[in-house]
């Protein structure tokens, strides 16, 4: 009996033990499964991050992943892009980033233009997770003000800031300026009229985080009749800058792109594609962005005009010298880590760079400068009568610079670069050298300048020397044959006037900037010429220290976030550029998740 009881009890205990072990192993299994399920979600997110990193570099990337292993832990992910037509499989991804219209996606989803729907399947052990996300490669920039800074704003001259909803209509929208700066020694936002006719018209708010009273923090001067502003607001809330990503990182990401082919003078055109330049880049001549994106790991200087559609990314400063015209149906973006300068065109710099590419130009250009210097010395001679007259020292000098049919020294075929000097007419020869370059505004401007000076130093052939000399004395200017006429007529009384003209020879022009799109910098913004902008200028210097010198006046420096416009501003905020739609301004940047869901 005892044995039977013992056996029965043992059986009961054994059953309880088996039940306990089973319950515990089931719980352990579920715990493991839960762990793997969580791990699989992170693997799926990793797969999505990996897709985004590929799309950032190539918006048309469609290779996908087929069981891509994680780097350190167990787990794999799959991403399959669907290219065909017809019904889209449930686990398929659709890349519609460069598409022109919406496309159908899996499970009846619609993939908007400019976006990609990514489905990532991830497995860890027995656990499988799937997530889908819609991502943008080229983001619409969310801009609230056409002009916004993290530092001070200084505007001089006539200022007009207004806004329209669309370039195709007349619907007006208010447009203002804003500064996030506070606690500056001077005004946070200052407008200074340069002459009696200058006015400031700003249809929106002029707002600053600065709590100081209007007139101190925001200073538009004592005469309120000079400005028409929507409203002034002090102690305003901090405004968020658009998320443009890290400019330096974008430049580094495109380090494998080919370098741009830069023309030594004339026009450089960058067709659609990415271009990367290691180190500083100087473009002498005009730059046309024909859909190209230029990434510069250093400073970019364009001594000439810029036009077209595309984007410029520079880890250093961007300096435009001359006319900047980025416009038409095109919209461009200039992104600079250290600052943007809009300056006048520097013809001497242009010619120096041109001379670097052509030994003949080098010889002619150096000889031109030397001849001009020697001419200036002769014009200051203490014995003026000794330098004038046909065949005299001044006459010999100007034979070098201009065209003189009576010059006994005839040009010879150029074998060595120095041969180009024979026969004089250096300016005419430089002009011919430029004419052989590709067309462009800067080249044409330089040719006009050289032609004007060449004519000034060339032989007077139109009228008697005495008549032409008298005309020059009456109205001193760089006119054809004037120098020759004065010298041949022996008019020593006009040498000082010639001196003024020669010493003021300049190959520069003030330039103007017309920009359609967005300029964004983490440094400063400085415009020495007049600026017309359809779009926005964002100067976001947060977190950056140091300063950059004013390229025109090294005694002055600009801090990150500071905006200075010295010749007025004419800005029109185009609302539709910054709203999702067909006319939105989209720039490359970090790919962003618009929506996501775990399946």
């Amino acid at each position: 009996m005892a044995l039977i009881t013992t056996l029965l009890m043992s059986v009961v205990l054994l059953m309880m033990l088996i039940t306990l072990v089973k319950a515990v192993t089931t719980q352990d299994y579920l715990t493991r499964g839960q762990h793997d399920s969580v791990a699989a979600l992170y693997v799926a997110e990793s797969g999505l991050a990996d897709v985004m990193s590929h799309l950032e570099i190539d918006g048309n990337w469609r290779d996908g992943f087929n069981g891509e292993s994680m780097q350190n832990r167990p787990g794999k992910y799959w991403v399959k892009f669907f290219e065909g037509s017809g019904s889209v499989p449930d686990d398929a991804s659709i890349n519609n980033i460069s598409g022109s219209s919406a496309r159908p996606g899996p499970r009846g989803r619609v993939v908007p233009r400019g976006a990609a729907l990514i489905v990532v399947t991830a497995r860890v052990g027995a656990a499988q997770r799937q997530l889908e996300a819609i991502v943008n490669s080229a983001g619409v920039i969310n801009v609230e003000y056409p002009l916004m800074t993290s530092g001070s704003i200084e505007l001089r001259g006539a200022v007009t800031i207004d806004g329209i909803h669309s370039l195709r209509g007349y619907e007006r929208v208010a447009a203002g300026i804003h500064s996030n700066a506070r606690s500056l020694s001077g005004p946070t936002i200052r407008w200074v009229p340069e002459d009696s006719s200058d006015k400031a018209t700003i249809t929106g708010k002029v707002s600053a985080v600065d709590p100081r009273t209007i007139g101190v923090g925001i200073d538009f001067g004592p005469d309120s009749s000079r400005y028409d502003v929507g409203a002034f607001e002090r102690s305003a809330a901090q405004r968020a800058f658009p998320g443009m990503g890290d400019i330096e990182r974008q430049v580094n990401l495109h380090a494998s792109a080919p370098p741009p082919t830069i023309q030594p003078a004339g026009t450089t055109t960058l067709p659609t594609g990415d271009y990367h330049q290691s180190g500083d880049l100087t473009v002498s001549g005009d730059l046309v962005l024909d859909g190209g994106e230029l990434f510069v790991d250093g400073d970019l200087t364009i001594n000439g005009g810029i036009s077209g559609q595309g984007a410029i990314w520079a880890s250093g400063k961007v300096t435009f010298r001359g006319d900047s015209t980025l416009q038409s149906t095109e919209k461009a973006a200039v992104m600079s880590k250290k600052g943007v300068n809009l300056l006048g065109f520097d013809g001497e710099d242009y010619m120096e760079n041109f001379a670097e590419s052509d030994p003949e130009v080098r010889v002619l250009w150096d000889a031109t400068k030397q001849t001009l210097a020697e001419t200036e010395e002769l014009l200051q001679s203490t014995e003026p009568a000794s330098v004038v007259g046909s065949g005299g020292p001044l006459d010999l000098q100007i034979r070098k610079l201009g065209y003189h049919p009576d010059n006994p020294e005839a040009p010879i075929p150029v074998v060595n670069p120095e041969d180009a000097l024979v026969g004089g007419n250096y300016l005419g020869k430089l002009e011919a050298k430029l004419a052989a370059q590709s067309e462009g505004e800067s080249r044409d401007f330089m040719m006009r300048k050289l032609a004007g000076y060449r004519d000034f130093f060339s032989a007077n052939t139109d009228q008697p020397d005495e008549t032409a000399a008298n005309q020059f004395i009456h109205r001193p200017r760089v006119s054809p044959g004037a120098f020759d006429a004065v010298v041949n007529a022996g008019r020593t009384d006009a040498l000082s006037k010639l001196m003024v003209q020669v010493s003021n020879l300049s190959y520069a022009k003030a330039g103007s900037s017309y920009f359609q799109g967005i300029i964004y910098t983490n440094g400063h913004f400085f415009a020495a010429n007049s600026v017309t902008t359809l779009g926005a200028i964002m100067v976001d210097g947060r977190g950056r220290e140091g300063s950059e010198p004013n390229p025109l006046n090294p005694a002055e420096s600009f801090r990150p976030g500071q905006l200075v416009m010295r010749q007025g501003a004419n800005m029109t905020f185009v609302e539709e550029f910054f709203e999702d739609g067909d006319n939105a301004l989209r720039i490359r940047g970090p790919v962003q998740v618009r929506t996501w869901a775990s399946r």
Binding site: V43, Q71, N72
Partner: protein
């Protein structure tokens, strides 16, 4: 004989019971460790891509390896009390390609509890 059978049964019962308890404890510790690991990765997402160091690093919470100047790894690194146990975190950072930062977190608790997760970070991307 009955005594022998009872003794054997009790022995088997005790052995099985101890094993079950240990397995249960491990299961609970793994579950808690998983939660700690998950919490940590959520904090990393909030912490931001920019503040995660670039390159290869190991931060051993058990050895009290210091955080970076930016404060990475964020709490609950180096260790946290959860469910009456101390959980130590080991965080490994590396890179994948030009952009992605790879984070591996291993959470250990007692002798048996262990959870490990790996994720890739992309700038501005946080879906969690």
């Amino acid at each position: 004989m009955a005594l022998g059978i009872v003794a054997m049964a009790i022995l088997a019962l005790v052995t099985g019971f101890i094993g079950a308890i240990e397995m249960n404890a491990r299961s609970v510790e793994t579950a808690v460790a998983s939660q700690v690991g998950r919490d940590f990765l959520e904090r990393v997402n909030e912490f931001g891509y920019e503040n995660v160091p670039e390159g290869s690093y190991v931060f051993n919470g058990a050895a009290n390896d210091p955080q970076t100047a930016e404060g990475f790894p964020p709490a609950p690194y180096p260790r946290v009390e959860a469910n009456g146990q101390t959980h130590s975190l080991t965080v490994k950072v590396s890179t994948k390609g030009a952009t992605l930062k790879v984070i591996v977190v291993e959470v250990t608790c007692g002798k048996r509890g262990r959870a490990s997760f790996e994720t890739y970070l992309y700038p501005g991307f946080s879906v969690s």
